[in-house]
């Protein structure tokens, strides 16, 4: 019991996720800078590793300004609700071993529900800060969500179809002989593209397009709310990549030699290596592409990715049965 609470708080719970979120932000800025010939963060900490933490702390003591015609309750409390979603979801992903901190037989459905809940909170949030930019942003956000949700859910559920269970823990444990990626590569590709859309990274950073609608749904926030919203976006990246690692790349599983080092170290190392590799893939894709328009993004999801994910699911069903 105490062990579970400690695990939930530190590793692989809240502290672990937040630290990973900050490190991912640093890695993203550094790789994006190096691929364009710049240097990225350099000053805060060795090679700038503490820069995201410094940005977070700086935002915490800035003044908070609220538009006078915004919905006060939503404006004040919704950022906290959005922050909880990836934190809670991370508890269901196995990190330090083949079993997760919390799990039950239907936790994959809970994950899908939490993803929907997070986007709903953002849509309400952006509509509540009633300025012309955020209204446009919330429209784009809902349209983008409607487009990417179905391919995302289908590609998440395809591993469950293969294993026959809706528990992430069991899906991970079923990959001890071979990874799911080899059987369902298209599901993996669809999941990555839908993850880019969920995290609002180029080519799908349409709801928070910096050069068109100032900052999209983040426009009217400042101070502590902005700090937590930005951190939540990074945590969303950590969680999305962790889910892909768990569902398609075998989670923390890997060959564990006999030694005096506790077996958790090996599992965590495998997990982190796979997580960072996936993160690098996402950063390379985001740097290489321009931003799409909302109509083109919707067309892409409905016309190409949805049939692809359905075909892959059907193929898996046929193979299994």
């Amino acid at each position: 019991m105490i062990l579970t609470i400690l695990q939930a708080l530190i590793l692989p719970g809240i502290a672990f996720t937040i630290t990973l979120g900050l490190i991912f932000e640093w890695l993203e800025r550094k790789t994006m800078a190096r691929m364009t010939g710049r240097v990225g963060p350099m000053v805060a900490g060795p090679a700038g590793v503490l820069q995201p933490l410094a940005d977070f702390v700086k935002l915490l003591y800035k003044e908070e300004v609220m538009p006078s015609f915004a919905d006060k309750t939503v404006f004040r409390y919704a950022p906290g609700l959005f922050f909880l979603a990836p934190l809670v979801s991370m508890l269901f992903v196995p990190v330090i071993g083949p079993s997760a901190v919390a799990s039950f037989s239907l936790d994959l459905l809970l994950i899908v529900f939490i993803l929907a809940y997070a986007t709903f909170v953002v849509a309400v949030l952006s509509y509540a800060s009633a300025s012309s930019f955020t209204t446009v942003a919330s429209g784009r956000l809902v349209l983008q969500y409607v487009s990417y949700e179905i391919p995302l859910v289908i590609s998440i559920v395809t591993p469950a179809l293969l294993v026959g269970s809706l528990s992430i823990q069991e899906i991970v444990q079923a990959q001890s002989s071979r990874w799911n990626l080899l059987l369902m590569p298209f599901s993996f590709a669809v999941y990555i593209v839908a993850l880019l859309a969920e995290l609002e990274k180029p080519p799908f950073d349409i709801p928070s397009a910096k050069t068109e609608i100032v900052a999209g749904w983040l426009t009217e926030f400042s101070g502590r709310a902005l700090a937590f919203l930005k951190l939540s976006k990074e945590l969303g990246l950590v969680f999305g990549a962790s889910l892909a690692v768990a569902l398609f790349l075998g989670g923390p599983l890997g060959p564990v030699p006999q030694s005096i080092v506790p077996v958790e170290i090996f599992y965590t190392t495998y997990f982190l290596v796979k997580l960072f590799a996936l993160g690098l893939l996402i950063f390379v894709v985001r740097t290489a592409l321009a931003r799409l328009k909302i109509i083109d993004a919707a067309v892409l999801f409905w016309k190409i990715l949805l049939p692809l994910s359905l075909a892959q699911a059907f193929f898996v069903l046929v193979v299994k049965g």
């Binding site: 010939g37 068109e212 321009a290």
Partner: protein
Amino acid sequence: MHDTFDKTVQDRKETSAGLMQYSAENLVPFGPIHPALKEPEYFKLILEGERIVDVIPRIGYVHRGLEKAAEQRPWIQNIYMFERTCGICSFAHSMAYVQAVEELLLYKLPERAKFIRLVVAELERIHSHLLWIGLMGHWAGFETLFMWVWKDREIVLDIVEAIAGNRIHKSLATIEGVKRDIPEPLIPGFIERLKYITTRVHYYRNVVDTESTLLIRTEGIGKISADRLEQLCAVGPLVRAAGIPRDVRRDDPYAAYNDVPMDLVTKSGVDIHTLMQQRLDEVVVSVNMIIYALEHMPPGPVKLRVPPVVPKGENASHVEAPRGELFYFVKSNGGRMPERVKVRTPTLANLPSALEMLKGHTLADVPVVLTGIDPCFGCMDRLSFLDRDSQKLWRWSGEELRQYGIHHYFPERKK
């Protein structure tokens, strides 16, 4: 006098365009401060969902009164002031002003000065077009292209710094010549670096033509027919991309454009994609012209001494700034200072075309299309008036402005 003045203003108010025919819910204010605009201008976008129905501009946010200030400074000091109208086309402004004044004096410009002016003007064109390509990448969400192109633009700016001493405000043009010579030992280094820029431009042309996400953002966006462009008096790469071969460097050569061979780049129809191709090809043409001019530069002096007074007369001159035809009108009454200087910048001529190009597109296309004409609002600004109660917009002629000044400062003259 007083009655007729007030009546004229009243007539103007009645007949101008109204703004409040659209309801406020569909109005998205683009500007004056917006991340998509380098300089402040206010565009009211009337949207239906995400489609733009109408665009109503309101200019005048960076009006600095340079034309009036020019009347109070001696001839040579005005060069430095007009150089600072715009950072990107600064040499074009100073060169146009200097050319207008030189034709009132009766000296012959040294040949070497003409070639140096051509070299620096073409270097400025390269840097301006590269800046624009980077900006198009930025507005389309393609930050990578932005960073790469500006990395190569630094090479051009270093060349300019080696010639002029500063990267942007070159302070090179002077009446009857240029102030400094190009240092001879550095010329081979310049030529080598310019050839490197040509290879990079070929790579960017490849990216612009093949990258799918960029093509989705730029192909078919901002279409306008060549006839409409002629009706709206557009200038610069915009008309050349439509297929109309109009370029001041070829139609009315100044500096050394008679002696240096030039290819005129035209494309077959205007949309943002062809504009990008047009400007990248113009960079290659400019590099070839610079290399030719550097290799065939005639020896001789670079400037002549001139007296500080300019004989009476009026003159107009135009140059091909990176954005289009830049037009300067200078009037002298024989003194140390000009009597009137009038500037017509290319962005003012292109703005109606930009507004026409925007109709029917979505909000995501607004920065891309507005930047398509390469706007420089700092150069372009004029005063405009807005009546808050009736929301009517109008402008004054020079005579009305003068009358208003008299009535404001000498109220006893009102009868």
